[in-house]
């Protein structure tokens, strides 16, 4: 219980750090750390009835989110020669404050929603929803494609957190399927970033709409 809560607090802290930081390298590392921490969550949340599927899920998550994604994203950074984002649509301090507001809204929403009794911690559902909204916020508020990929990963981490809390009810197949989807998505996005960059010499997505006929 205490360890689960600690992990959830770390998830919120990493999300706030992502909202308030402009360095791409450190953002990728923070997302990787979040993935690793979340990988440990299924093991800790179901410590008393630990089974093979939770262990497999944990190892798979840590491997993909902690090792494969960072390696892939750092490669994209190197190849596309990404500099740090100087002017996002929403400034970093404003993003941080929005993050706090989103957290408050998530807690408020979860008090209204009917929640299953079996959740590992009372913070789990609100923080999962916070991660989803924070990821969405990152996607809409940043200009560079790479930051948007990171937002997408945060969003997925939120879905994953929620899934882990409900793991006894959901099947391992669903989790594995989601993980595979994300893997393919990041793979495709990595290639897209490379191609956008080769075509236009930058990865600012806000200029893509000048392409319309």
């Amino acid at each position: 219980m205490i360890l689960t809560n600690l992990i959830l607090v770390l998830v919120v802290l990493t999300n706030l750090k992502l909202l308030g930081s402009s360095r791409i390298g450190s953002s990728i590392r923070v997302v990787a750390a979040q993935g690793v921490v979340l990988g440990c969550l299924p093991v800790l949340a179901h410590m008393h009835d630990l089974s093979v599927r939770f262990t497999v899920l944990a190892i798979g998550t840590v491997a993909i989110k902690g090792i494969v994604f960072p390696w892939f994203l750092f490669r994209a950074v190197r190849e596309a020669d990404v500099a740090r984002e100087v002017e996002p649509y929403v400034g970093y301090v404003t993003s941080l404050l929005s993050g706090v507001v989103i957290l408050a809204v998530s807690f408020w929403m979860c008090q209204r929603l009917p929640m299953p009794e079996s959740l590992a911690s009372s913070w789990l559902a609100p923080i999962a929803i916070f991660s989803i909204f924070a990821g969405l916020f990152l996607i809409v508020s940043r200009k560079r494609a790479l930051n948007q990929v990171l937002g997408f990963l945060v969003l997925e981490n939120g879905v994953y957190t929620f899934g882990v809390g409900l793991a006894p009810q959901s099947s391992l197949l669903v989790e594995a399927g989601v993980l595979l989807d994300v893997f393919v998505a990041v793979f495709v996005m990595g290639i897209t970033i490379f191609h956008i960059n080769r075509e236009f010499d930058h990865i600012n997505t806000d200029q893509l709409n000048t392409l319309k006929d």
């Binding site: 205490i2 809560n5 600690l6 607090v9 919120v12 802290l13 706030l16 308030g20 970093y92 301090v93 941080l96 404050l97 993050g99 706090v100 957290l103 408050a104 807690f107 979860c110 008090q111 009372s122 913070w123 609100p126």
Partner: protein, 303 residues
Amino acid sequence: MNAASFIPLLLALVLAPLLLGIINRTKALFAGRCGQPFLQTYFDLWKLLHKSAVYSRTTTWLFRAGPMLGLAAILMAVTLVPLGNYPALIAFPADFFLFACLLGLMRFFTVLAALDTGSSFEGMGASREVFFSALAEPALLVALATLARQTGSLSLSTILSQVSGGHWLQAGPVMALVLTALMVVLLAENSRIPVDDPNTHLELTMIHEVMVLDHGGPDFAFILYGAALKLWVLSALVVGMIAPDTGTLWLNLVISVGGMFLVAVIVGVVESTMARLRLLIVPQLLVGAGALAAMAFLLGLNK
């Protein structure tokens, strides 16, 4: 109000300048110097009090009143802060709002006096001081509100005496977040290093020091003593959160005073190992502290 309530006040009045000495000694140790004596701030105060003040002809009565009113405000704040398990001299529900107001009042008079000189440098320092403290104040208030919520009491004296190991075990993350936010506020409010460098003599980067450039003699002694007291009260909040309750009053008091010196050492270590942040980054740090405090509040609200 009883006789024992005078103990935190007396200790603050006597020991506050010592904290500055400890910080300087820690920094000297890191730099490999011998450093000034622990009691240097007392010598400085004594020397300044025996000088006479010099006033520029462009200044008005505001400039003369500033240091005195600032010291009066912080003295009032000292009477609100408990130490160990001894309650403060004055304690009533929601007195932490008055505490924050008094810190604000002290800053207000310092800023007015700085603006009264008409110096552009002091105006710049005043602008920065007000900007940064406007960001630090919400963090302080939300952090104190979280503590009030956790302990279920509304007065600084009862909040700080009720915070115990039980709260740390039950809601460790919440307490750790509040403690971090309070530490950042302590560093920012006292113009210590990641926010402001107390040793710098380059006016363009100074914040607090630049505002008091024109004060001299007893006026400057008041400002120096006020700054020491401010460091003492904010450290007392931090120590009140972490000091364990041993059950014996005098032992608690000894531990708390030791904790105050430890906080001073930590400030010294931070000053020795960190660089001052760029002015543009400071708001991010302070908003970050506010975000941590707000997060602690939300987490504590949904136990």
